[in-house]
C-alpha cells in the first residue's frame, strides 16, 4: 500500500476508481435527478447550472444517467472479470500442475479460444440469447479467461518445482490441497494485475455492445447506451456523447494505470 501511494499515477487512478465506485454505491444520493425522469421542458438542454452535463432528447439529465450507468458498467466489469478469473485460475492451475498430455490438450483448447474473434463471438451469442445484463456479464467472462489461464499455468509450472510443494507431498498432501493451498495463493499476484486490466477491457466491451444496441437495453442506463443515444444528435448536442465517452475513457485508463502500478509493485523483477 505504501508503495502504491508512492506511485502517483497508480494512486491517482485508485482514487478515481473510488470516486466512480462511490457513484455506483450512492447513486440515489449523488444523482440530482431520476435518471429516467422525462422532462419535456428541457429537451437537449446544454450543460448549465441546472443540468451540469446537459440533457438528452427526452429531457433526461445526463449526469444522473451517467451516475446510475456506472452501476451497470462497473458491475459488468467486476463480475465478467470475476468469472474470467475463476475459470482461468482453475483451468491454468490444473494444466500447469498435471503437465504433460493434460497440459497440451488444455492449452491447445486455450489457443483455439484465443483464435476466435472474441468480439464477434460475443455479438453472435448475445444475438442468439437475449441481451440481458446477466448474459452480457457471462459472455464477456466466458470469452476472456484465456489470458488468466496462461498466466496461472506459467506460474504454476515454476511453483510446482518449489521445495515447499515437495515437502507437502511428502507429508501426504493431495493434489487438490497443493493446488489450492500452495500454488494458487502464490500465483495470484500476476492474476490480480491481469484482472485489474481486464476490468477496463470488460467495461469497454460492454460499452461497445451497448453502442451497437445489443448491450444493456434502454431505459436502463449504461455508459455505452447513453453514448449511443447521443449518436443521432451528435451535430446539435455534443454533450450526449462526449461526457459518457470521457467517463468510459477515464475509468478504463484508471484501471489500466492501477494494473500497471500493481504489476510494478507485485512483480518487482519486471521493472529492471
Amino acid at each position: 500500500m505504501k508503495e502504491l501511494i508512492k506511485n502517483r499515477l497508480a494512486f491517482g487512478a485508485l482514487i478515481f476508481i473510488f470516486v466512480i465506485l462511490a457513484f455506483a454505491l450512492f447513486a440515489p444520493l449523488i444523482a440530482p435527478y431520476d435518471p429516467s425522469a422525462i422532462d419535456t421542458d428541457s429537451i437537449l438542454a446544454a450543460p448549465s447550472r441546472i443540468h451540469i452535463l446537459g440533457t438528452d432528447p427526452l429531457g433526461r439529465d445526463i449526469f444522473s444517467r451517467i451516475v446510475y450507468g456506472s452501476r451497470i458498467s462497473l458491475s459488468i466489469g467486476f463480475i465478467a472479470v470475476g468469472i474470467a478469473v475463476l475459470i482461468g485460475v482453475i483451468f491454468g492451475s490444473i494444466a500447469g500442475y498435471y503437465g504433460g498430455r493434460v497440459d497440451s490438450v488444455m492449452m491447445r483448447f486455450v489457443d483455439i479460444m484465443l483464435c476466435f474473434p472474441t468480439f464477434f463471438l460475443i455479438l453472435a451469442v448475445i444475438a442468439i440469447l437475449e441481451p440481458s445484463i446477466f448474459n452480457i456479464m457471462a459472455v464477456i467472462g466466458v470469452t476472456s479467461w484465456m489470458g488468466v489461464a496462461r498466466l496461472v499455468r506459467a506460474e504454476v509450472l515454476t511453483l510446482k518445482e518449489r521445495d515447499y510443494v515437495a515437502a507437502a507431498e511428502v507429508m501426504g498432501a493431495s493434489d487438490a490441497w497443493i493446488i489450492a493451498r500452495h500454488l494458487i495463493p502464490n500465483a495470484i499476484g500476476p492474476v490480480l494485475v491481469s484482472a485489474t486490466l481486464g476490468i477496463g477491457g470488460a467495461i469497454l466491451v460492454e460499452s461497445a455492445l451497448s453502442f451497437l444496441g445489443i448491450g444493456v437495453q434502454p431505459p436502463t442506463p449504461s455508459w455505452g447506451n447513453i453514448l449511443m443515444d447521443g449518436k443521432s444528435t451528435l451535430g446539435v448536442a455534443w454533450w450526449l456523447t462526449i461526457f459518457p465517452g470521457i467517463f468510459i475513457l477515464l475509468t478504463v485508463l484508471a484501471y489500466n494505470l492501477l494494473g500497471e502500478g500493481l504489476r510494478d509493485i507485485l512483480e518487482p523483477g519486471l521493472k529492471e
Binding site: 518449489r162 521445495d163 515447499y164 515437495a166 515437502a167 507437502a168 507431498e169 511428502v170 507429508m171 501426504g172 498432501a173 493431495s174 487438490a176 490441497w177 489450492a180 493451498r181 500452495h182 495463493p185 502464490n186
Partner: protein
C-alpha cells in the same frame, strides 16, 4: 532396518528442441543398494551432481525408480531441504507452515477437505515445538521472509518434527547457512534425534558436516556408491581412490 534399497536406478532423458527428442540419458542414480538402520544417521556424501538429491527424492517417493526396489519401513517420513527460503511457502504464516503436517493428518483433510482446520489443531503443540527449536512465540504470526536463514531452517525442522516422524531425509540442511549457524542447526538436529529417536539420511557435499553427524557414511560418485562404512573407518582408512581424493581436498583448503 528402516530403509532398504536394492539396485535402484533412475535416469533422466536429455531433451532437445521443440519435439523433445531424447538425445541421451543422464544416469542420476545408477544401481544403488544400501540399508539404513533405525535411529542411526546415515551420511551420504559426494560432489554436486553425483545423484545424492535424486536418491533422496527416490526414498521420499517424490520420484519413482526406473529399476530396483525401495523399501521404507515407515509411513512417518519427513524432509528438510537445503534452501529454507524455497521450502517454506512464502504466503503462509509460520504457524500454518509448522502445523501443516498435523493438519494433513487430520481426518477432515484426509476425506478431501481443503479447509484449514488449524483452529482445531492444538496451538500448544505448535508452540511447544517452536520452543524446542528455540524460536520465540512471537514467530507464530510472522511470514518466512521475516526470518534469517538459520531461523527458517529451524521452522523447517519444527514442521518436520511436529508430525512425530520416524525417518527424516535431510538434504543438505546446512549448506546455505554460514558456518556458525551451521553448527547450531546440526546440534539442534542431533538433540531432536536423541529426544525422538529419529533416523536420518543426511545428504551433504561437506565432509566435515557429514563426519560430525553420521554413524555410517556412503560415498557417492556419478550415481554409484563407491564406498560405504562406519564414519571412523571412512575417515581413517579410506579404501577407494575417490574417497581419498575427497578427504585430501578438505585438508588442502
Amino acid at each position: 532396518m528402516i530403509v532398504k534399497l536394492n539396485g535402484v536406478k533412475k535416469s533422466f532423458p536429455i531433451e532437445r528442441g521443440y519435439l523433445k527428442t531424447a538425445s541421451g540419458v543422464v544416469n542420476a542414480v545408477d544401481g544403488v543398494s544400501l540399508e539404513i538402520e533405525k535411529a542411526e544417521t546415515f551420511g551420504l556424501v559426494g560432489e554436486s551432481g553425483c545423484g545424492k538429491t535424486t536418491l533422496g527424492k527416490l526414498i521420499l517417493g517424490i520420484l519413482k525408480p526406473d529399476a530396483g526396489s525401495i523399501e521404507v519401513g515407515t509411513k512417518k517420513i519427513q524432509v528438510i531441504f537445503q534452501d529454507p527460503q524455497a521450502s517454506l511457502d512464502p504466503k503462509m504464516r509460520v504457524y500454518d507452515i509448522v502445523a501443516e503436517g498435523l493438519v494433513l493428518q487430520s481426518s477432515a483433510v484426509r476425506r478431501g477437505g481443503l479447509n484449514l482446520p488449524y483452529g482445531k489443531i492444538a496451538k500448544g503443540q505448535v508452540e511447544e515445538m517452536l520452543d524446542l527449536v528455540k524460536l520465540p512465540k512471537g514467530a507464530l504470526n510472522k511470514y518466512p521472509h521475516q526470518f534469517s536463514g538459520g531461523e527458517r531452517q529451524r521452522i523447517a525442522i519444527a514442521r518436520a518434527v511436529l508430525t512425530d516422524p520416524e525417518f527424516i531425509v535431510c538434504d543438505e540442511p546446512v549448506s546455505s547457512l554460514d558456518v556458525t549457524v551451521q553448527l547450531q542447526i546440526l546440534r539442534l538436529l542431533k538433540d531432536v534425534q536423541k529426544k525422538f529417536s529419529i533416523t536420518y539420511l543426511f545428504i551433504s557435499h561437506d565432509l566435515r558436516v557429514v563426519r560430525f553427524m553420521s554413524d555410517r557414511i556412503a560415498v557417492m560418485k556419478e550415481g554409484k556408491i563407491v564406498e560405504e562404512g562406519p564414519t571412523q573407518k571412512i575417515y581413517s582408512k579410506p579404501d577407494h581412490d575417490y574417497t581419498k581424493l575427497l578427504l585430501d581436498s578438505i585438508l588442502n583448503i
